[in-house]
Symmetry: C2
């Protein structure tokens, strides 16, 4: 967009990006003003030159996390499609991959934060809802036309499986849940022939 972002804009973006990572790793409550500024290589005093409040940072951070995760997912999905996978299979395999299970810091913020979302302030909760809808839409684009209204059902299944796998610990039990969910979703909704 802006070909020559200002120094301030670059710093602002760096703070948001840092917070987006911390948020997915440590939750909304794990995002501290002083900690994020330090990780971004700054002192905490300058924070309020960039954001009106901590909540304003959370809003920008969850939006950034959502776009970042969506971009990574799109890339991974495209690679799988290039190797012959159907759009749905590509998405499901990418979302329920072991890489995504382990790398929550760069992963989907809905999976990382869903149960905390309803407890946030109105603005933050609204920004979170936007990311939920974006995930549902991304799933919907990979479903057959006659199953489009099932997008939220499949999205819920993906999110739930990733969360329970993480809650069970990053072990065989969790990986088995991911694999079983992949098979379950594809068996129901994938029109392409099984490989």
């Amino acid at each position: 967009m802006d070909p020559t972002p200002s120094r301030k804009q670059l710093t602002h973006d760096r703070i948001v990006e840092t917070a987006a990572g911390v948020m997915r790793e440590a939750g909304f409550w794990g995002v501290g003003v002083a900690d994020v500024m330090k990780r971004a290589g700054l002192t905490h005093g300058g924070f309020y030159a960039h954001f009106a409040s901590r909540d304003a940072l959370l809003c920008e951070a969850i939006a950034h996390a959502g776009r970042d995760s969506a971009a990574r997912l799109a890339k991974s999905t495209a690679q799988r499609q290039a190797r012959g996978a159907s759009p749905l299979r590509a998405l499901v395999d990418a979302y329920l991959s072991e890489g995504h299970l382990a790398a929550s810091t760069q992963g989907c913020p809905v999976a990382a934060l869903a149960s905390e979302m309803p407890r946030q302030s109105a603005e933050v909760a609204a920004a979170a809802t936007v990311r939920v809808r974006a995930l549902v839409d991304a799933v919907g684009r990979t479903l057959p036309a006659d199953a489009a209204e099932q997008a939220s059902v499949v999205a819920a299944q993906l999110v739930g499986a990733l969360q329970l796998a993480r809650a069970l610990g990053d072990n065989a039990e969790g990986r088995a849940l991911l694999a079983a969910t992949r098979r379950n979703v594809l068996a129901q909704f994938d029109t392409a022939p099984a490989r």
Copy 2:
């Protein structure tokens, strides 16, 4: 068990029960020692006569929340079975009911807390994992014998649907997601004839 619990035991239980509600309403981070004691009708100074630490309370509270929720779910499920529903249908309809959507304070702690579980201390995370397994087991008991290994898949679907419905706001969108998930799970796994 104990026919005449001591005064201290009664107080202890009251604190745990209070914390189990606060935890599901406000999350792990929302459980404050002073706040819980005040809600239980006590002053915060006496807390450490009952628990070694805040974490120790969290461990007891999540166990209590899980048993409490399981008992409510079992009761609701039994009523639905008495009206002719299959075990699976009874469980799914109870878990994905609009009552459960709205009443997170008395609801399933896995749905209320899943994304926060991996971020807790080792002891609290372990106590949380126990509740995840208990939910999976409860689902497994309602599945046909040939689908038992799908219990965690279905549990993930139930948890994910409730969480996304809550994250979308307690509105038509959320209720539609619950209804669609009920239909989806039953269409896949319910051997009893559709009503």
